[in-house]
Symmetry: C2
Subunit: 349 residues, 2 copies
Amino acid sequence: MGASIKDVAAKAGVSIATVSHVLNGTRITSQPTRERVLAAIRELGYSQNQSARNLARGRSTLLGLLISDVRNPFFPDITAAFQDQALAHEMDALVMNTNYDPHRTLNSVRRLLGLQVPGVAILTSQIDPAVIDMLARHRIAAVYLDLGRVDKSISNIVIEYETGIVLMLEHLSQLGHRRIAYIGGPLHLNSAQRRKNAFIETAARLGLDPSLALDADFTVKGGYFACSKLLSVPQPPTAIVAGNDLTAIGVLHRAYDGKIRVPEDLSVTGFDDILFAEYTQPALTTASIPRAEIGRVAFQAIWTMLSDPELAGREYRVPTRLVVRESTVPPANGRERSHHGIQSEPSVR
Amino acid sequence: MGASIKDVAAKAGVSIATVSHVLNGTRITSQPTRERVLAAIRELGYSQNQSARNLARGRSTLLGLLISDVRNPFFPDITAAFQDQALAHEMDALVMNTNYDPHRTLNSVRRLLGLQVPGVAILTSQIDPAVIDMLARHRIAAVYLDLGRVDKSISNIVIEYETGIVLMLEHLSQLGHRRIAYIGGPLHLNSAQRRKNAFIETAARLGLDPSLALDADFTVKGGYFACSKLLSVPQPPTAIVAGNDLTAIGVLHRAYDGKIRVPEDLSVTGFDDILFAEYTQPALTTASIPRAEIGRVAFQAIWTMLSDPELAGREYRVPTRLVVRESTVPPANGRERSHHGIQSEPSVR
DNA sequence: CTGAAAGCGCTAACAC
DNA sequence: GTGTTAGCGCTTTCAG
């Protein structure tokens, strides 16, 4: 079944080299020979043996993509975008889950090295120095997420968490909200720290109360209880900005389970754009990390280094965006409440 | 950087063949040599060149996994399970999105063939005969989802949609529900047809009204309007079973958007277990397709065929399950309404 | 129990 | 514009 390049050469009446060259466009071939080769290929249903090709070239057409877990909704978009880019460049993406396990991660990298991948994207939340080291030592083009370092063969994608928070506050402020609260995450996380700072600074700048910032733990429960707290005062906020999606879910659970008094038009705003499409509540403005773009940029970074003999790495900044849905509400004393409920084209996957 | 087997052999003072054999456990080696080889490998940080290995063996350690789209929540669980299994067997899963595009699918398969993969799992909803053919012709172990055919080198995974429906109705019936409606999908879909039949038969068996079955279109909108219809009669159902997750979402949207009268304790039940974790409504009993199991079984099927020189395929039946959440409710005249809202351990990913 | 050597299918000089 | 051929690093007979 496996027609080889030899068969093609024989059938087309040319040398093996010629076949290889038309296949790779690696040297000019006369129109007629070229066509005979192509015909032979078609008739034999031949497809290049990548193992052989990779062996001869010393590098494979596989690119490694390390993510924490495909089941984490953060990753599918990234993955798909990365794969699309790879495909467009005649490469394949080998996606691996690290399951948040450093051991498994290192092992995966080892496998990737064995597969002779020329480049790897490491988009896990935690990054083991041993991994960076191993990849660098082997001169593999590598991109990391929020690594904060750039080097020969090392690129870095920086997510600008601030932009989303700023845009969100400006948006809410413009809708007329004056008491806007923020529920953040554990401050040992870089992203939590930066979001909180952005909130405080922006709140101050917009003349809002910067002290309405709470630190939770980026979990559903944390959001739930933080929300309770915020709404238990005489003058509760009219809008809540959640520092990440799980927090926002918790806030929504709390705000709409009917057990506490809630400002009629409380606006809940989240970060990360995860899962919100499924909510019927008017809580649908989110600041979102442009995931697909991260996937594209990750590929781009690798590709750039690969086409550069120096493998010079660089930094890529990806701003977070504001996603405004129809159902965002102004405070109760503001304009008329907008229409809620099902959207014309539900963004459910 | 790339230490090769030759280097290892030199360092260990043995032949290349010996190194290869200790690496693959393919013939008995004396303890001392074995250890010297292992030591050399460790010191050199050597890892097998898979390209060369694959070329020599004529097959790669890569397994293809074709799915429609990682962004479709149906697939991540499957993917992860498949990958885990592969990893446990020293193989890697090359996951590819077909984007529901037959062209792209065929192209992917061609790529996989080029990569010399020994096996492929095709878990897309639509299956192109050309793909089956191509795979079969190349004697690649292939496993399909609901293909309905088994052959040499072809295995098939059958999802038993019926079980979930049956279990769901028995469960609701046991809670005291008597008017249970069903909203299904377009009958040209095998799964829709089978679910509906299961509903009708089971309803009859349980002494319920089998005529309460509606056909919608497996979309959010479809569920929305079907729900309207069901609730607009004098004696609306006390429980609604949705044929798939999107339908259930539509039903929930409708039932809880405050625009129509809803039985106080309407129970909505869905299929596929997608996205429900995010709902605060008491709609959390689902019949679910055990996705992780599908991933495991898919790998298992391939693995079995690979270790069988005959590549004899077989059929694997995977029953759907009932997932009961705390918040399922009996009808209003039944027992006390159970506690709703946040769960102690929110199953949010 | 171990080694020598013939490929696996392809790429990339190097010739012509 | 085309052909010859020496590897790429490994597996796997076949000898010892």
